[in-house]
Amino acid sequence: MRYGPASVVPFQIDLSSIARRSVASLYSHLVTRPTGRALRLGIESQIGELGAACISVLDFTQVVVLDYSCADEAVAKLMDRYRGADRPADVYFLARGLGEQHRDPIEAVLARYDMALSAEVAAAGFVLLGTASPGERDVWVALESTRTAAPDEIARLLNGDERETTTLLDGLCERRVALRRSDSRYQALSSLLAVAEA
């Protein structure tokens, strides 16, 4: 199934506000599995209410401490639920507001599940977290720089082979860190975020 940007609903989730709502305003730090589980259920519920393909933005701006257990529940298990063919909705996840202290836990839990996540990291801009081959990372960076491109354009940028580039782009779409449009061009997820905020 292919989606153009117009059919994807950007959907931003402030993790700290969800935490407050889901865990009865008790916790200002995202630690422990039950907290992560509550977060995940809250996010899943909001995604379910949208009932459409959406970009789900996980906003860490207000999060001071994130531990591995909570990250496993709130990020990895959440993304894992929406990556398989039996996913309950078509969701693309983006993280933003990440500080350096959040990177380790998120990278670690993504690696456990062999997943990747587009993320906006303070002072580094958008980066690809988690697992990806060097070729996929190069293509992802090139797509980020162009925001939208056809495979031959990316191939030219990287001095690469068009067919191989197409395979890598499709791999990124399979990992849900890029979008394939109905006109056969590819789109960086971060560009959809900019459209939503304009």
Partner: protein, 313 residues
């Protein structure tokens, strides 16, 4: 009555001597004589609570004779030791001060961990109190100081997730006078009297290897500590200890886990303990010790402890 004289220094290095107080007939009453204790750290104090709890399971409430040195008693009071000890020991000795009668320099008093809510309280408290200690006294960058809370959170959750019972945590900052050239360190101790690593992993191990009966404490510790094995069939589980090791390693710290009759540790170059010990006095549950040395500044560069010169043990 079996009498155990507590060592002058109550810490991880002397814990096995305290644990030997459990040797012998379980029904025999125990007396732990702390008259000559001159120093106690979080590991030593929580370890005493753990050993006392075990001693009281099958016999009359054990007796604790308190240290004679007033400053040791005062410090134990500030760490909240007596609030927990009174339920475990019949206490003999001088009156001790409450921990609430003055400003405290304690990073985290001895705190019972019985639920995830307790873990949140610990993280909140340490973030509130500990940031200036970690950044100004131990020279950790702010980002790494936050990771200290993560380590504490994961190690406390280990009690709830695996021990199937409650436990205690405490942490304090010290200046070592002899080891590490007088550098400041933070000591974390976390203990429980639960099922321990061997029992926690035995069903998984038996399913994999078919020899659950021969699964030793040391093998269980190696499986969990070195290989991240866990009883949960979930790819997200088992990473807490691995990440603690990774983080403590970055700080050139020491992390050890004692469970049953074995202890396993990541030993930095400034420490002389063994990476794996077996046939120790049996103590149920698990006892985790973490030591984090201050970063030192050499010629304007802040470097991890192991890169500094002038090591004196």
């Amino acid at each position: 009555m079996k009498v155990t004289t507590l060592p002058a220094s109550l810490d991880e290095r002397t814990f096995d001597a305290v644990a030997r107080g459990l040797d012998g007939e379980p029904a025999e009453r125990r007396l732990f004589d702390g008259s000559h204790v001159r120093w106690a750290d979080p590991y030593g104090m929580i370890g005493l609570l753990a050993v006392g709890s075990v001693a009281g399971r099958e016999s009359e409430q054990p007796i604790l004779r308190l240290p004679e040195q007033p400053d040791v008693l005062s410090y134990m009071a500030r760490m909240g030791f007596f609030e927990h000890a009174e339920a475990i020991f019949e206490i003999h000795g001088a009156t001790r001060r409450s921990r609430h009668d003055g400003p405290s320099d304690v990073l985290l008093e001895i705190t019972a961990i019985n639920s995830h809510a307790d873990v949140h309280s610990v993280v909140d408290l340490v973030n509130e109190r500990g940031m200036s200690i970690l950044t100004k006294q131990l020279n950790y960058p702010v980002r790494e100081a936050f990771q200290f809370s993560v380590v504490l959170s994961e190690v406390c959750q280990n009690i709830i997730e695996h021990a199937e019972t409650g436990g205690w945590v405490a942490t304090q900052r010290y200046t070592w006078t002899k080891r590490l050239a007088g550098r400041k360190v933070v000591v974390i101790a976390v203990m429980d009297l639960g099922v321990g690593f061997r029992q926690s992993l035995s069903s998984t191990h038996a399913a994999r290897h078919g020899d659950g009966g021969r699964f030793s404490d040391a093998a269980a510790l190696e499986a969990a500590f070195l290989h991240g094995q866990t009883r949960f069939h979930d790819p997200g589980r088992g990473q807490g200890l691995q990440q603690i090791r990774k983080q403590v390693g970055r700080w050139n710290g020491r992390v050890s886990i004692r469970s049953g009759s074995a202890r396993i540790a990541d030993v930095p170059d400034w420490d002389d303990s063994l990476p794996l010990e077996e046939q120790l006095p049996f103590v149920p549950g698990s006892q985790i010790g973490i030591i984090l040395p201050a970063r030192v500044d050499e010629g304007g560069l802040t470097v991890p402890a192991h890169a500094a010169k002038g090591e004196v043990q």
